[in-house]
Amino acid sequence: MRYSFLSVLKNGFTGQSGWKPAWRDAAPKPAYDVIIVGGGGHGLATAFYLASEHGIRNIAVLEKGHIGSGNAGRNTTIIRSNYLLPGNEPFYEWSMKLWEGLEQALNYNAMVSQRGILNLYHSDAQRDAYARRGNAMRLAGADSELLDREGVRAMYPFLDFDNARFPIQGGLAQRRGGTARHDAVVWGYARAADQLGVDIVQNCEVTGFLTEGDAIVGVETSRGPIRAGKVGLAVAGSSSRVAQQAGLRLPMESHVLQAFVSEGLKPLVDGVITFGAGHFYISQSDKGGLVFGGDIDGYNSYAQRGNLPVVEDVAESGMALMPRIGRLRLLRMWGGIMDMSMDGSPIIDRTPRPGLYLNSGWCYGGFKATPASGWCFAHLLATDTPHATGTAFKLDRFRTGHLIDEKGVGAQPNLH
């Protein structure tokens, strides 16, 4: 069924009786050409692009719970391509281009909204670092704009310009950045992949791997063994746990990142703002809630919940940046488990086990990467070569020293 204004109208007249499931709740078949482990945005996007771009249709996406129940449904929905390093920036810009055509590609309104992202700077050194970044973005074909203090004031007059401990000096803007409706991205990819024949198998937990010698030839699951030509892991947050079942030890720690939403408000914050003197970023959803977050809690965790110090730190930064939000109320806080890689950048690569492919290490930046991650992982699975925008995301870069360390903090995941 194609979604359109007419389909909505028609169902309005027929008491909403004509809708069909957005995707089939498939039962697993005994074998597939490709199995994607993980029914989040990345896994579903991978399946969709394998089917749509590479003509591989005999695919299963295995999800231990229901689709989108991991980080795809727990993030702060920001999309941007304002990265610094050559290993990253072309990839994220490719992702941005895919976002820009996503709704038409999927026939699903994922509410991709390019209302802009603004990274504030508060010192000369930060300004120069953002200039470096903005120039790198231009080199990759992305848009960037370095604003001075007055430029920022024109966009967001209610920020604290007069009494700040670290006065705002300006910002790096990416007008094409913004947000997307995270759940809708998952549902849109699921529905589109399903229509191309992909089996989305929910409540199917991978418990081990089927092997022949060194090679991975399928998975053991809570719903029985399933064979596959290739197995791709897209289980960010649990990558170490799943890879361990294949005998792999990854350059990764799992950490909790909290996110927050306020009660609904009339429009206050148009785009996305990030604070440069603390860990804080904020946007406002179409429903009206302020959606914001800050730093990871900073200790290994699989608990999907965080603690008060980070909550307070985030609120302090919010109040320092926008002192009129003091009387707004925090409605909900939650935690997601991040694959924090050792250099803060992702891994999309083959593994030492033939037949097993890895998509992981997204740290706290996986949502914006969803389309390109799926695209590049599909390319790798289909062709056994990395996509041109993802050649740096190698698993062995830690051995060779070709690191992609945007923040320059080294092999300490909780600082990335």
Partner: protein, 87 residues
């Protein structure tokens, strides 16, 4: 989260800086496989869901490195000891 610092008693985790896995040992830099051993030491982690031995530094307290036994799924802390014995 409250860390039971062996010197200072239970203190809020915000007094501490976290480093990570405390089961790792710095390899022999003169060993023939030092490259591989250091790669594993610096980058590879067991990253268990469950019992985890980890380093916390009591930066706003006694400045001791404390090895904490903590569960990464429940955050429950089973115990803590100082690094380097009784210095």
């Amino acid at each position: 989260m409250r860390i039971p610092c062996p010197y200072c008693g239970a203190r809020d985790a915000s007094e501490f800086a976290y480093l990570g896995d405390a089961t790792l040992t710095r390899p022999d830099p003169a060993a023939p496989d030092a490259d591989e051993a250091f790669h594993a030491y610096v980058y590879l982690r067991d990253n268990p869901a469950g019992a985890h031995s980890e380093w916390w530094y009591h930066s706003a307290g006694c400045r001791r490195w404390v090895k904490v036994a903590r569960d990464t799924t429940s955050h429950a802390i089973a115990g803590a000891e100082l690094a380097g014995g009784a210095r």
